[in-house]
Symmetry: D2
Subunit: 377 residues, 4 copies
């Protein structure tokens, strides 16, 4: 049986954009998404050029989001774009997402979903009213072994959770933060474009999402410290928090963009009454399951014994590594199914995760600002 | 500047085919290939259905390769398919490849390129006459760190090579070979469809290619032993060879499909007068460079200090894992450039590698058949 | 040239004691220590039995520490025990150490050195007055790669330190803490015998020592949270702290004894302006040196290019793993040299490290007790 | 209950000898061996000096093995040395071992046990006649996880063995073999002192022993190739063999001392009908158990669920690494028990393993000499 492909648009992510490649390849993985247009550049000529590279109808290479909404809405239902991905700098997410949602488009939005928790909450209301599919590009939740971890915890493999530890270490800001002339070239270091937080908002939020995603538990309070490294820099480039979970378990979340030499070292470990699970993003196709009275076991993707949700997130036989773009592909796959009404968005972080993330960022900043007070989240 | 995309066709790799997904996603990675048609199934209905899933013109969903050649050749030059991928079972490769090459199509062919060395040599002649691009899907050569290894060796980082070691261990044949009723369901165990070798032809050939690809040296003689495990099974499911390289260096190549529990454990280690390099497919984004008088160094993709050829094979920043399909994507990227005349096919195994591989398979079988004699290759 | 061996005594560490084996084997590694007596049990008969097992003069198998001091002091200088190791439960450390130091014995003391910071400070005064050698059994500082890390940081390999991260995760308390009947069998859970902290005092203190030992920087403030898991349990079994170093750098220290399934997972990572260093106790013979503009390098013991202090801590050629007892052996080796006046105790944590450790424990407890306030240390 | 310690002597292994340290520390680990004398140097003065360092009776610091045998035999039974370790260069093993065995001493001998298979067989006859304990220092068999592997295979965890792979790669000969002036300084490169093989006799033999030790199967035929690298060098510095086991399984054994940059990379993998086991010497405290239908499990020492023989080989709690000397300590522990009649030498390679090893070396040399013929072993 043949079902029509989802007509998809991309905002941001043009010509040399890495995130654009990631989204375009990810969307192509399931044979069920078709790129039909987008806003590939603020510059109309570049936008058209890129549409030509992609073999797209130039009429659907829009110069602005507003033009896209007008243009697509005018098309017959069977031709109209139904899903739009927002891959622009942070400060544009909120306005764009609202407009798209209010106009009835399904949306995949890069994180952070907005610049503030208030905005995120407002957007959540819009999404609820529109009844559309809204997914957040928390790519790491698309890895099969992250889903395996979530499923095992949900199934009780660890018993009651009693300790969590998440870290996300990168070093890429290091050469920039020590050279003030370079600051302006990095939008994440500009509060107007990147928002009120750099490190926590960009990567701490991933670790936070991973923690709530895998454990199914909420963080309810935190105590945090942040570092801007240079007093002239208004934004955190390093931040850590002590956490309390809703069930009373303690945890630590540590994030840094000045961990010199680190590439993309995101790790999470969760320990319960009956066992522990550890996962590392840089070696994503394994999951260590630790137990007290038996040897550790090592889960890998592609096996019949994996949880169905993990199996579903793997395209290849065991031992054929899938990577970051494949993880993003699983986000797209889930969104397509949700749009088609085949499945709920259960495995994909949505607007609720967006709200949680923005509250987390706000709580970290507030705790740090007050010199270290417990802040509810 | 906008260049037209390469019009691409796929033979085999339909609906539920894993290798089909790999090729389609890989081809999409560079925004420069456009799937326009193919032969997706022997069954016409299925072929059309799949074309519909992909949003293709049903007129270009051909029932046979001959129909494809006739149909495409009839189209104007600006519409005609120019690149065709052969992703069928082994026994079809030779005939299909010859027809396509002789008809002027560029070809990407799954390995093994043919069933015999004689056929491979004949095909080489055709390719030379046609002057078209012919690439072999030795996917592992598309990994950035394999290319880094090749470049470092070519640049003399290891000095004169004095020892090589390649292994490729899988376990997937184990449950099959011990259950004769399952044999018929696996075309690789059927000499008519899979050819004269199972283990050596399917995976030993990858290890062999990797060895010649990375070292730039030819294996000139070998001494081999194979195992069919069950006397009723005509094909090897395990095989190993002692190697002599053209410069006199010794090596070992070990392959097995009955290494129970192994997933896709392909490894290569090369040692020279001045250092060693080690790579493992299951953790592909690292390359260990061993030295005598300095700490080992660990190369990873995405860095400015990587060799240009390795850098070019990586789409993402450091620490964002790329996997098997990304490696295949680099094969496609190279083929597209070669078709466009922008670059030679230097980094991509071609028909010459195909001939070498078939000679290797023949030599292993010959050495084993004679009870262990050195056989030239 | 032959030098007389150091006459050594052991207090605690009898018959079935693991820590006793560790100390006896460690002391034997350099051919320069000779066990001549000790207090191997509170029970006189057991003490004598164990002396017989070891082939010791029964007259030097003392029933109490006081008897040992009297007995040994009465011996001629050339026969008298000069070095004593204290391997008893925590609550005995302080009294025993004071008596031994005041009587002129050199001492190796298990950690924590005392139960309180006040006691540690008092002991420091005694050590200063006595002028004897006093070493703390922070075994992990005896690993070659920990010393390599310290030396590299001291030599400026990382530039200014800007981020530290230490964790020490074990799971062994998990089955005990969930079964109140077992509590009494574990002296570390008894405040009278183990002191005011379980997790932080037993293992957090190791992570803290490692952090100050390797960086050469002091932690000046901290913000902490601890967990007793069961309200009836008066002692922490999990604790974490946000740290500020004397140079302003931030850090995290996380310790847990309820990280189910973890064995002895002590890790430290230090990042500076120019690079990072990472070490893990469970795989102790490697040290990762991360850099921004060059591949990571991997240090291992036994090489000419290792720092002299690291080289000195390795007895075997590269690739021959040395372990926990070998690390302790390096503590003994350093103590012997200090006693002989050949070298200072530079590489060995002494009473000053003991004072620092007790202040750290007190600060964590104070910060946690006040609901999370920054506490100076 | 107190049992007298075993009076032990050491031949070779004096002052700066690495192997001497290994044996002395290893022997001390169980509190059940007492060094009473030995032949520590060919030079009488050095021998006496070293005895003084160790605090030994100078009368038992013998200048020659003959003197040791005469001297010790003259002592009363309750004082006489009962166990002697031979840690001299290879060419002395045979004569020394025979004399000691014929004189009623128990012996621990470094490998290779002799220079030829004939000598080994003759020695085996002596051992049988004497009824003494004779152990070979195949240190790697002392690792807990090697014993776990052996026990699991014996218990049928893998089912019928169908594939084995052993490799032992070092690089230390590389800088020597390329500098002829250095050759004379290395006794292993001198056939008179090291015997007829360098690489195979020194390290290949370890891999061979490990293979037969863990599988419990004999290698019955092999096909080999060796390399001397420099035609002027009479001895192999690299060698590999294709193997046939007594049950028909195939295998590969690869050894090299010119694998530049490798430290002590000994690995073994064994695959059976029902699973696989992999172990690496450079990370010795883990054992991977691979299965077809379940996640891999990772065994580590010190657990109640480990095989009793593995548990017995571990002194410390889980996560406290034990290393090479600890492995040798387990050889000593087993020998002591055998001398005391408490247990058979089951876990310790004895003279039979020595005979097997020498036959293996002879077979490799013979196969290589004949240009690659299958040779029985």
């Amino acid at each position: 049986m043949t079902r029509p492909r989802i007509r998809w648009g991309l905002v941001g992510g043009g010509q040399n954009s890495l995130i654009g490649i990631v989204h375009r390849v990810a969307a192509s993985m399931g044979d069920d998404c078709e790129l039909v247009g987008g806003v590939f550049s603020e510059h109309e000529v570049k936008c058209l050029e890129f549409a030509a590279v992609l073999g797209l109808d130039p009429a659907r290479a829009y110069a602005t989001l507003d033009a896209l909404i007008v243009g697509e809405t005018a098309l017959p239902a069977g031709e109209r774009m139904s899903l739009v991905t927002i891959a622009t700098p942070n400060y544009l997410h909120y306005t764009m997402a609202r407009k798209l949602v209010q106009s009835g488009f399904h949306v995949i939005c890069e994180k952070p979903v907005t610049l503030t928790a208030t905005e995120a909450q407002a957007l959540a209301t819009d999404v609820a009213q529109a009844g559309t599919v809204f997914a957040l590009a928390h790519t790491y939740t698309g890895y099969p072994m992250v889903r395996q971890m979530r499923s095992m915890i949900a199934a009780g493999a660890l018993g009651a959770i009693q300790k969590v530890h998440a870290q996300y270490f990168q070093g890429w800001i290091n050469p920039i933060i020590h050279d003030r002339e370079k600051w302006a070239s990095v939008w994440r270091l500009d509060p107007k474009r990147g928002g009120p937080s750099c490190c926590i908002g960009d990567i701490g939020i991933h670790a936070f999402n991973l923690l709530e995603y895998t454990t199914g538990l909420r963080v309810v309070r935190l105590l945090a410290d942040i570092d801007t490294l240079d007093p002239a820099n208004p934004l955190d480039v390093d931040g850590s928090a002590l956490l309390r979970l809703e069930n009373g378990a303690r945890g630590v979340l540590a994030a840094s963009q000045i961990a010199t030499g680190e590439e993309n070292n995101l790790q999470i470990a969760v320990y319960g009454r009956d066992g522990g699970l550890r996962w590392q993003q840089e070696n994503p196709n394994r999951l260590d399951f630790l137990r007290e009275d038996a040897p550790a076991t090592l889960y890998t993707p592609g096996h019949a014994y994996d949880d169905p949700v993990a199996r579903d997130a793997s395209k290849l036989p065991p031992g054929h590594p899938e990577g970051f773009i494949d993880a993003m592909g699983n986000i797209y796959r889930g969104v397509v199914r949700a749009i088609r009404g085949e499945a709920k968005l259960a495995e994909i972080p949505g607007i609720e995760a967006g709200v949680r993330g923005m509250r987390f960022v706000a709580a970290v900043l507030e705790s740090a600002r007050t010199g270290g007070r417990w802040v509810d989240i």
